[in-house]
Amino acid sequence: MNPQAAPSTSAGVVRLSIPARAEWVAVARLAVAAVASRQRFSIDEIEDIKLAVAESCTNAIQHGSPDGTIEIEVELRDDELVATVRDRGMGPRLGTVNEERIGETGRTEELGVFLIRALMDTVEYTSDVRDGTQLVMTKRVSE
């Protein structure tokens, strides 16, 4: 990808809806990686975004409403990517993670949350009965 072809402010928004089932998570992460590759991210940064969005989808499958859908929105802005993952379910998603004990507990949910926070620059989480759960993550291009 030619770095000179990077989009300007809010140049692109891609929306994807997947069934909230495990076999569809790969589709979401590949799509997000393809969008991220249009920005000036390094390969490592694209992998970070890919994993963080996939973990968010996995989280939604584990806590969201069964047989529901997951809405994924990826927006390219100047020097950053904003990924939003929404589902209709509710539940504890981004609670406190004890980093010292994460390897001992091995709880997948804790690992997933930990990875999202570690790999992205900002993570915002909202959840309510009417709108379900939304996770907004930002990754900035490192210079």
């Binding site: 998570v25 490592d44 994993l51 997948t108 949910e109 990875l115 790999l119």
Partner: protein, 114 residues
């Protein structure tokens, strides 16, 4: 996306699990089944070869941790073979490098089991 799992007997009582592909919420049950089957058969020294794994998520990590816990209850161990920088990074940032032996090649991983 899929994961290929190949289990083979190695030196002594050790077994090697070769994984090829991507380990995520969809494919990790297949990996878990293979590891669980070995442990159920009382094989407690395992090398899990991640050389051909391109991607791993928290569910994959959870499967590896679960296997390690089970073999440790019987005095065994799980060593990993991994050179992929992105996957090694995941083990680094989660602190799992402290609980797994991670090696660049199978021979070293096997030797460390002894």
């Amino acid at each position: 996306m899929d994961i290929k799992v190949n289990v083979r007997e190695s030196e002594g009582d050790a077994y090697v699990v070769d994984l090829t592909g991507e380990i995520d919420v969809y494919t990790s049950p297949k990996v878990k089944d293979a590891i669980s089957e070995l442990i159920d058969q009382e094989h407690y020294n395992l090398v899990i070869n991640l050389e051909n794994v391109r991607y791993i998520d928290s569910t994959g990590l959870g499967v590896l941790i679960g296997g390690l816990k089970r073999v440790r209850e019987h005095g065994g161990s799980v060593n990993l073979v991994c050179t992929n920088p992105q996957i090694k990074k995941i083990f680094d940032i989660t602190g799992l490098v402290k609980i797994f032996g991670i090696f660049d090649d199978e021979q070293s991983a096997m030797k460390a089991l002894a």
